[in-house]
């Protein structure tokens, strides 16, 4: 899990069936001062985080596998940070 900032969104028509209907956000991993620490990643966002909000991202597929055991997806927004 790491902190990230939501920097954008992506849309897709042709995708894995389990990605259908999910919101895809593009996140930049950040350190405690808000400085980027790596290249942008994509994550599913069931919480509806807004642009530039700080979020907690899980890089494990477990959250997705709660719905389906055959899910290849990982990177989930699992929390929106207040402070």
């Amino acid at each position: 899990m790491f902190h990230a900032r939501v920097d954008g969104h992506a849309t897709s028509t042709v995708c894995h069936p389990l990605l259908e209907g999910q919101i895809i956000v593009i996140c930049t991993p950040i350190d405690e001062n808000g400085k980027p620490t790596g290249p942008p990643i994509a994550a599913m966002d069931p919480l509806g985080a807004g642009l530039h909000s700080k979020v907690m991202v899980s890089t494990d597929g477990t959250a997705q596998r709660l719905n389906s055991r055959s899910c290849p997806l990982r990177n989930d927004v699992i929390g929106i940070l207040d402070t």
Partner: protein, 97 residues
């Protein structure tokens, strides 16, 4: 899951039996600059990605690396990266400063 641009394809003359009918893409992971401008290629190393969606060259995709990639199959398969989405539109606007 990472955004990447398809920069080529790979064909195999021989491969693991599970790979029969597989399609392979050479993918350039997108950097923040690529996402901002929507063009160009990063200098990150380029993974080979399993594809069953039919992505063409120069298409932006999302791919998953790691053990999760094998979960899309109902049989064991030695795959480490899989294409999960062909992207229609990407908006990327990091805050200025």
């Amino acid at each position: 899951m990472k955004p990447g641009t398809v920069i080529g394809t790979v064909t195999l003359s021989q491969g693991a039996p599970q790979f029969q009918g597989a399609r392979w893409l050479v993918v350039s992971p997108m950097s923040a600059d690529n996402l901002k401008t929507g063009k160009g290629y990063s200098d990150y190393s380029t993974p080979i990605v399993y594809d069953n969606l039919g992505a063409g060259v120069d298409t932006p995709i999302l791919y998953v690396e790691g053990a999760e990639a094998t979960r899309a199959f109902d049989h064991p398969i030695p795959v480490d990266a899989i294409n999960v989405a062909i992207l229609d539109n990407i908006s990327f606007a990091p805050p200025k400063s």
